[in-house]
Symmetry: C2
Subunit: 336 residues, 2 copies
DNA sequence: TATAAAAATGACAGCGCTGTCAAAAGCGCA
DNA sequence: TGCGCTTTTGACAGCGCTGTCATTTTTATA
């Protein structure tokens, strides 16, 4: 049997107050006497009342939904971000609308334009967060958002992870192991973090007075196949590297495959390092030395910042920077 | 500058019709003259009108949102399902609300109970779809849903994938290669598909008149670690198997690691097969022979069936069965 | 041409809530 | 006790749409 869902009127009648008072209680507004509050809550409980979101949305012109914009082929990353975001959403009674999209799609702007009234704000992940048209759209329409990106855009709050520092650390770690020819595979050229990771690699070399050698660097695209072909190229060179640092884990997996092809033992003859600490990395053979990003933290933080924004409490400082961390496993060791 | 969003009234005024007619056009209702329809559409276009979902929801008592319930640690699977589901959702103007949950949580029922008014229906993935309390809740409250599961529940429509047949095929394939001692690692005991995959293994053995040997079978939990320990057990036995068929890819990765430990060459000394065709499988070394499930298809189908349901067009036959497919890669070969 | 039936359109209530503003109740203090 | 203040509560409009049902227009048929 389907019993009709109880409304604010039912609760008000049972509690002997006006519907407005019920509304106040459920919106945690001040200036409601405790005894009144209790009456209302009790009544709501007996009736198993739940506010009707649609009605609330219509009346308040709020959706209680936030949108998540992303174009990330890495499902582990996406899932983890979703998870962290949902945790915070639930605290605030918000729902999450996921919107995977193609950053290079010409329809992107229309698409998001249509979404804008369905959500109160957006969390925009890399690399979509670096799309200037999109940022402009959000800005012009005064849409609340938090960007996960390595670079600022206007006054938008943004969350960044110390990609450069982490890449620097990883490079330094490889140098500390005694490597002198450390290869590097750059990530997808459209991804902001690709540049930062490369910058980190370069800064560590520089600090150690090691010349940056273009022959040790190859341009990948963040997928295994590109990692494989880059590694083939690097390993075929006359002065082959004794370590290869790939800008993400799938590419590092490609390097591992190439090492197999070349009959190189990892890590004795070739050290391999990745970035992201995906499950892939843990499950590789040998398990991959990599960099762990605090993904859940990023997601939680981004969501919290957005919630603050939506509640009008915008912060002074709009950048929050988190640090990534080295995870040393068996794929790296001293050379020779 | 933020211009106020235009409403159905604006469109009606500009088109010179009543708001009800505008409503009809936007809901694709019949009985609107083409010329009227055109006028309305033109007016809507100039005003850049978009129906207000909240208002529509409130008035129609529909949410235009479907919920996706899952508890799946495999992010590739989840992401792919989300993707397929979203494709269909967009066609129908629906949004997707994801709700990862813990199948064994005591609060699950409350949680879903609270969600029920926020969505028009649910897509329930395994293993949540096999939770009897949840199914009962959905049934009692007459909530529309489509289950992705290997078994029926009452009259609910359900989508299943031929796990058993696929496992049978894979086993047969290994036998065809000449293996006589084929090990098997069972999946998580709470997962319906674990049983089916085991059943497929057994049926293939039986057809070939090969005795089912308990010593060749180990109980895993769908994760790499359990695959590793199961493989250690199987490989330590006096009559070690020449092939191991793990019920999913992470466990097969564990088997691969164990093979490394035991100094066994894959596939010359040990063939390894997985299930699911996760990216893991493609990226393993050697690349893993496995079973590909039509995940996107499952998701699309499930969503379509749900949409049919919501529109009152319930089908006669409520089960849709899709077939999985063998993917043969380099991790399997003839023994010896 | 008249008439019935079908198709197209509109008037209006109301979905369940929040915002606004006014009214009532409670409080401190002379 | 009464005054002015603050705190608490309520009445009511209206958010933008859809459902119902009445009305008008068109079409088919006699």
């Amino acid at each position: 049997m389907i019993t009709k869902r109880s409304t604010i009127n039912d609760v008000a009648r049972l509690a002997g107050v006006s519907i407005k008072t019920v509304s106040r209680v459920f919106n945690r507004e001040p200036n409601v006497r405790q005894s009144t509050r209790d009456k209302v809550i009790a009544a709501a409980e007996t009736l198993n009342y739940r506010p009707n979101r649609s009605a609330r949305q219509l009346a308040s012109n709020l959706t209680f939904v936030i949108g998540m914009l992303y174009d990330n082929p890495n499902s582990d990353y996406v899932t983890e971000v979703q998870y962290g975001c949902l945790q915070v959403c639930r605290e605030y009674g918000y729902n999450l609308l996921i919107h995977p999209c193609q950053a290079d799609s010409p329809d992107l702007i229309d698409e998001i334009g249509g979404l804008q009234h369905q959500v109160d704000g957006f969390i925009v992940l890399q690399p979509v967060s670096d799309d200037q048209r999109l940022n402009q759209l959000l800005l012009e329409n005064n849409i609340a958002c938090v960007r996960v990106s390595q670079r600022p855009f206007e006054e938008f709050p943004w969350i960044s992870v110390g990609d450069k520092e982490a890449a620097d650390q990883m490079t330094e770690y490889l140098l500390d192991l005694g490597h002198r020819r450390v290869g590097f595979i750059i990530g997808h050229p459209d991804h902001g973090s690709s540049h930062d990771r490369l910058a980190g690699y370069r800064s560590a070399l520089k600090r150690r007075d090691i010349r940056y050698d273009e022959n040790l660097v190859a341009q990948g695209r963040f997928d295994l196949e590109s990692g494989l072909s880059c590694a083939r190229k690097l390993l075929s060179s006359t002065s082959r590297p004794t370590a290869i640092f790939a800008s993400n884990d799938p590419m590092a997996m490609g390097v591992l495959s190439a090492a197999h092809e070349f009959g190189l033992d990892v890590p004795r003859q070739l050290s391999v390092a990745g970035f992201d600490d995906s499950p892939l990395a843990r499950h590789a053979w040998p398990p991959l030395t990599t960099v762990r990003q605090p993904i859940t933290e990023v997601a939680r933080l981004a969501t919290n910042v957005l919630m603050q924004q939506l509640q009008g409490r915008s912060e002074g400082d709009s950048n929050h920077r988190l640090q990534a961390e080295l995870v040393c496993r068996a794929s790296t060791g001293s050379p020779g």
